[in-house]
């Protein structure tokens, strides 16, 4: 299987990672202006015939594939070919980048200033840069950064400029275009803009995909896009979107290029700029419209300390090697290649698997700060905890995390007390230390008019803090699922534990990155890691908790507890309150209201249930499990709930019924 080639290490700890270099250091010691005007001569794709943005548009508009769709659309709609051609040109005009070096230089200058004031350091693995340079020379490259902040793609271009690499062109959402000036600046620095949804628009799709493929085929620039599609508001990786990945793989599958290199990039922030904004969004405060003036107001941001950030350029992944033995490329032989076709099932599942592998690679190379470990404990002890105890626990967790292969940036030669204190002080907007007690800070707590408003502020802090815990979840996810499975199964029998494990995995596969079809591998990995850290013993037929497991396993269970609870809340809502006219639109506000009610009544403590992210994921899972069905009516989509199934799911999650086959079958 292809995953093997990407992810072959059985023991994640053995993974060798590169060292980092702080690129701001030089910026602090030499002229930004000179840097902005430095000689920029990147290594190009071999045999590249450079192409100006205007020329690129012409190539795209005249391409066989676009011409094909244009005449098709014209035939279907009755519009003249010329008219459709004009439409296509207009779409392209709206979409295309106009990268020019002068704008890039302008950004190089201003961003230098901005980054220096925001971050203590911006650390980049230079070996990754070298690999990338080689990759750019040899094959068309696709850059796939993780997405946690608007900063991400500015930072990417900034780094590539710094290291004299070919600047990428970046797929960006149209939302930016509402800020005329900023949008155009981004366009001139290499962004191209795609509408958020263009479902059935054949012409739009044709222009878009041909545009991307033309850039890729000719190796004009690396293409950059976010596999996750949007910024993750929770810091958990999002289920990958496949549209663009499908597009960039096609030139290889059709033999138009020898290979394509996919380069996962992990960008991690010690403090995310949008931290509180995200929490509010998750709680239903609408995302502020991107506006230039809004951006300027955000100047306040510059007075704060966002710690360090890390950018890790992963090993380039060859699409050719991934496809080896999985895809029969001869499939593309019988139809002219410019005629668009739906990907085969084979190709679809290949792209899907690849997307998951890549997101996992992003996760693995994400640098974790001590703070994420601290946040993990704070989320398990919402009422606060002793500083000394926190330090002790954090150290314990550091060792556990390391043994699970976490990419931890824990300072050497510094006392753990100091490490923890300095983390706490960097995040002083979220936590307070008072008389040796550490607890979450609630911002506008004083003078809160209503219990709802208070709850809201508490939830903002909690979800902000949770987003840091979420950064480390992927490290513990599989062992934690196993821990919960052992607990629920209430037996040592391996097969039953596995059933339970795979049930949980199935339920949570919208919540976390769990590669489809890899339940067995995940189970083995979980067993291996728990055995390695001494928490369990793996026997021929059984999984047995050891003495030290009595600490580790409950801790791991507690890590997933909010999610288990959250999903149960969603289930309860559907069973108890939902009526036959529940529309998809109303689902989230309704669940939120329900959860707020439980909170205020004191019967719910965790805040994740309030998060629209969890609510969305839970619904997706229920739809996938056929416990809820979407029914389209004239003007809306209604959710039909199979209460029996939802109810039994809730019970299973609550550990009331073990996951036996019949339950699964009924789902």
């Amino acid at each position: 299987m292809a995953s093997k080639s990407v992810y072959s290490q059985r023991d994640p700890v053995l993974k060798k990672r590169d060292d980092f270099e702080d690129i701001l250091e030089e910026r602090r010691n030499s002229s930004d202006l000179r840097y902005a005007f430095k000689c920029y001569t990147p290594v190009l794709y071999k045999g590249l015939v450079p192409c100006k943005p205007a020329m690129l548009k012409t190539i795209v508009l005249q391409s066989d594939s676009l011409q094909h769709v244009i005449s098709q659309v014209s035939a279907e709609s009755g519009e003249s070919v010329e008219l459709v051609q004009e439409e296509a040109a207009a779409i392209l005009e709206e979409m295309a980048h106009r990268q020019q070096l002068s704008t890039v230089r302008f950004f190089a200058f201003t961003l230098s200033k901005a980054f220096k004031s925001l971050f203590r350091s911006v650390c980049v693995n230079e070996e990754g840069i070298q690999r990338l340079q080689q990759a750019i020379h040899e094959h068309p490259v696709v850059l796939l950064p993780s997405h946690r902040s608007y900063m991400d793609f500015l930072m990417m271009s900034y780094i590539l400029y710094t290291y004299d690499l070919t600047l990428p062109v970046i797929a960006a959402g149209m939302d930016f275009m509402s800020m005329k000036f900023v949008g155009e600046m981004l366009r001139m620095s290499g962004a191209f803009f795609i509408r958020r949804s263009f479902g059935g628009d054949k012409l739009y799709w044709a222009v878009f995909s041909e545009y991307v493929k033309t850039i890729l085929r000719n190796g004009y620039s690396p293409i950059e896009f976010f596999l996750e599609g949007t910024r993750s508001r929770t810091s958990k990786s999002l289920t990958p979107k496949l549209g663009l990945l499908n597009i960039v793989m096609e030139p290889f599958l059709k033999g138009e290029v020898f290979d394509v290199s996919l380069v996962p990039v992990s960008i991690s922030y010690e403090r995310v700029l949008e931290e509180a904004l995200y929490a509010r969004e998750l709680l239903g405060v609408p995302k502020p419209k991107e506006s230039t003036s809004g951006l300027l107001k955000a100047r306040r941001i510059f007075s704060e300390d966002y710690g360090s950030m890390h950018v890790y350029f992963g090993q380039p992944v060859s699409v050719r090697s991934l496809a080896q033995g999985r895809i029969n490329r001869a499939h593309y032989n019988l139809v002219p290649r410019h005629i668009p076709r739906k990907p085969t099932n084979e190709a679809q599942s290949f792209v899907n698997d690849t997307a998951y592998q890549l997101v996992r690679m992003q996760e693995e190379n994400m640098v974790l700060k001590p703070w994420v470990l601290i946040a993990t404990f704070l989320m398990q002890n919402l009422e606060g905890m002793e500083l000394s105890q926190l330090v002790e626990q954090t150290v314990w967790l550091r060792d556990l995390a390391r043994s699970f292969g976490a990419f931890l940036d824990w300072p050497d030669h510094t006392s753990s007390m100091k490490v923890v204190s300095s983390s706490l002080s960097l995040h002083c907007n979220l936590v307070s230390v008072c008389e040796g007690q550490v607890r979450l800070l609630v911002a506008a707590a004083q003078g809160c008019e209503s219990p709802e408003a208070l709850l809201f502020e508490q939830a903002v802090s909690a979800l902000s803090c949770a987003s840091y815990r979420n950064q480390v979840l992927h490290v513990f996810l599989r062992p934690a699922l196993l821990a919960v499975a052992m607990h629920t199964a209430a037996t040592q029998r391996k097969d039953e534990v596995y059933n339970c494990f795979s049930f949980l995995r199935n339920v949570f596969s919208n919540e976390f990155i769990l590669c489809p079809g890899e339940a067995v591998q995940d189970f083995d990995e979980a067993c291996y890691l728990l055995m390695k850290c001494g928490a369990v013993q793996i026997l021929q037929q059984g999984v047995v908790t050891t003495e030290s497991g009595r600490v580790t396993l409950p801790f791991l269970c507690a890590m997933l507890e909010p999610f288990l609870q959250g999903y149960q809340v969603v289930c309860r809502y559907l069973c108890e309150e939902a009526n036959d006219n529940l529309t998809e639109k109303l689902f989230i506000p309704a669940v939120r209201t329900f959860a707020v009610k439980l909170h205020l009544a004191g019967s719910l403590r965790c805040y994740e249930a309030l998060s629209s992210d969890l609510q969305k994921n839970a619904l997706a899972a229920l739809l996938r499990l056929n416990a809820v069905k979407k029914v389209k009516t004239a003007d809306q989509v209604v959710l039909k709930v199979n209460k029996l199934a939802v109810n039994s799911l809730e019970d299973t999650l609550g550990g009331k019924i073990p996951t036996q086959k019949p339950v699964l079958a009924r789902l």
Binding site: G255, E256, F258, N328, R329, A330, Y332, N333, P336, R337
Partner: protein
């Protein structure tokens, strides 16, 4: 009918034609005159027919290498001064020195003249396994008077074709299963007798034509337990009649290409079928492999040239009842025979189209700034259906290779390089020496038309940035195709092994396929531990309405590899997979043999394969023709 004047004119053109063919084949004085033997099979009457036009003796090893390509007297070597030379007197290159070959060779392969990998010396009859004879068969065969042999060297000579692994094994002194005896039928009736006897005694028959197969078609299946008889067709080599009214000739299938052309030329005709192997390959071999000649644009491929075929099968003789130019009588049974690769029976006689020798022939060449432009030009030429008799486009590496083969002194070989140097200054400025590529052209017909045609093609070329680069370069290009096979033997003396293979592919995929296959070869070599980047080059050798034939050469220095042959086989395998993945065919003309069998089902679908199988089952239920090719 032809008046005196006309026939003398024809005589003249015949002479001219002879010179031309000698031009790319051999020294003119070597052309000997022999009569056409337009008579019935004389098998019974006189076995030693003195006037037989035979360039191919029964004991081929007397004039040909047993472990390499071609005539024993002709080979490349590096002389004491380290200069490459080509020995013998047969070819225009014979006796000449190629001063830049050494540098090219060492530079391209990282080879070194100090590091030799000589072949095992003479064939030691002792190492050839003793024949497994079917005594009764031998007895009864003897009674027919048809000549046969059980000598080790005769058998060994027919145990292989010219795939790299076959020749490499011979050079290393490894001999696998070989035929247990060789028979030389003299005519159709002899073949009928042999096939009858083989069926009667359950003996395995393997037709052997020119032995130029490059698909492992001639390899004896190691699992074959019956006695294997190699049926050498070389003595069935007469032109039985020429029909000038219909422009056909009826020919015995064992005739080899050079004899067929020479004999027809004497009567003022030609077939125009000129595969690069025509010095040795046979008419029956062409039919059995669906061969393709360089001038197919005018004359057609073998399937366009045959009018009537006679084949002896275990079920009896198959042939059509008339020689009509086209028929609608169900699927064309000729197409079961064409490409049957010796699995159904022996092709014994063929009626072929012939043409008067063209009045005028002219070579030409065009230099393009890059391969892409060259392909675009060929595509346009094909679109306008104005392809010359031959048009071939070499990539940059082959273009450089061409330079390296430039002989030292020769008026006719005005140096490509020198010529080019001049061009560089005058015309080719702006051409990147590491990008440019060259197309070679051959025009044929009456003078005026040729000149017109030539202009048309050069005009198209100009639209794609192509610049005419002279006749000599073109002519040299074609001459080289006949000696290039000899070069592999030179490489093998110095740790370099290589092979060529071909495919056909739709126009829109030509560039992608060329790039991907070449790169795949480079990458596979690297992954398999080959120390030096391989030579990985291609050329487009034929154009069609809907696509082209592409030919790849790849070779590498195998020093430091413990199992070079295996590496080579893996790379070739990977390259073929790459071809198929990029929309190329399994083969344009080399055939499937045993080398490419594994992809047959994928290529023709399982129903298609089933059809072929059922034909085989009907025609040859006991698998007498047991070479196990194709299916």
């Amino acid at each position: 009918m032809a008046s005196n004047g006309k026939s003398s004119e024809r005589q003249r053109t015949a002479q001219q034609r002879l010179r031309i063919i000698a031009g790319h084949l051999r020294k003119p004085e070597e052309a000997d005159h022999t009569e056409i033997a337009a008579q019935e099979c004389k098998a019974e009457s006189s076995r030693t027919n003195p006037e037989k036009p035979n360039s191919m003796p029964k004991r081929r090893q007397e004039i040909m290498k047993w472990n390499g390509w071609g005539y024993s007297d002709s080979r490349f070597l590096f002389n004491k001064k380290g200069q490459a030379e080509f020995t013998g007197k047969r070819y225009r290159l014979s006796g000449l020195i190629m001063p830049s070959l050494k540098d090219w060779f060492e530079g391209t392969f990282g080879a070194n003249l100090q590091h030799k990998s000589p072949a095992a010396p003479a064939l030691n009859a002792g190492v050839v396994p003793p024949p497994n004879l079917n005594e009764v068969f031998v007895e009864e065969l003897k009674a027919t008077g048809i000549p046969f042999s059980q000598d080790a060297d005769d058998r060994m000579f027919r145990a292989h074709g010219h795939c790299l692994h076959e020749i490499f094994a011979l050079r290393e002194g490894h001999f696998g299963r070989c035929p247990d005896m060789v028979v030389w039928p003299n005519c159709h009736n002899d073949v009928v007798k042999i096939v009858e006897l083989a069926c009667k005694h359950n003996v395995c028959l393997m037709p052997y034509g020119g032995g130029t197969s490059v698909s492992s078609a001639l390899e004896c299946p190691p699992e074959e337990t019956r006695s294997i008889v190699s049926l050498d067709t070389s003595q069935m080599n007469r032109i039985l009649w020429i029909d000038e009214k219909n422009l056909t000739a009826h020919v015995e299938a064992g005739i080899i290409g050079q004899d067929l052309e020479r004999l027809l030329n004497e009567s003022g005709y030609c077939t125009g079928h000129e595969p690069d192997s025509m010095e040795f390959s046979s008419l029956g071999g062409w039919v059995a492999t669906r061969a393709s000649g360089m001038k197919k644009n005018i004359y057609g491929n073998i399937e366009d040239l045959v009018v009537h075929i006679k084949m002896v099968t275990p079920r009896g003789v198959i042939e059509k009842s008339c020689q009509g130019p086209r028929m609608s009588t169900g699927p064309d049974v000729h197409h079961f025979i064409l490409g049957s690769e010796g699995t159904l029976g022996v092709v014994t006689e063929v009626t072929m189209k012939i043409r008067p020798i063209p009045e005028y022939q002219k070579y030409g060449s065009v230099v393009f700034p890059n391969f892409q432009q060259g392909v675009a030009c060929l595509r346009e030429v094909a679109k306008q259906r104005c392809a010359p008799a031959s048009i071939r486009l070499m990539d940059n590496e082959q273009f450089k290779f061409g330079h390296a083969l430039k002989p030292q002194v020769s008026s006719i070989f005005t140096s490509f390089l020198d010529g080019l140097k001049k061009f560089y200054i005058t015309k080719f400025k702006g051409f990147d020496q590491d990008q440019l590529c060259v197309a070679t052209l051959l025009f044929e017909g009456d003078r005026e038309k040729v000149l017109q045609h030539e202009k048309q093609v050069y005009d198209i070329a100009a639209k794609f940035g192509g610049l005419a680069a002279g006749e000599d370069n073109g002519q040299r290009g074609y001459m080289l195709t006949f000696v290039i096979a000899y070069l592999r033997d030179l490489g093998m003396d110095y740790y370099v092994i290589g092979e060529s293979f071909e495919t056909s592919v739709p126009w829109d995929r030509v560039l992608d396929l060329c790039r991907n296959v070449k790169e795949r070869i480079v990458r596979e070599c690297k992954e398999k531990g080959v120390q030096f980047p391989p030579l990985s080059t291609c050329r487009v050798t034929q154009t069609y309405d809907v696509g082209a034939c592409v030919y790849f050469y790849f070779a590498f220095n195998y020093r430091g590899l413990s199992d070079p042959l295996n590496v080579y086989l893996q790379v070739e395998h990977a390259a073929r997979e790459e071809i198929l993945a990029n929309g190329g065919s399994l083969s344009h003309h080399h055939g499937v043999g045993k080398l490419r069998k594994e992809w047959m089902q994928e290529s023709v679908s399982s129903v298609g394969l089933g059809m072929l199988r059922s034909v085989k089952e009907y025609v040859d239920p006991d698998n007498i023709f047991g070479n196990r090719n194709l299916l």
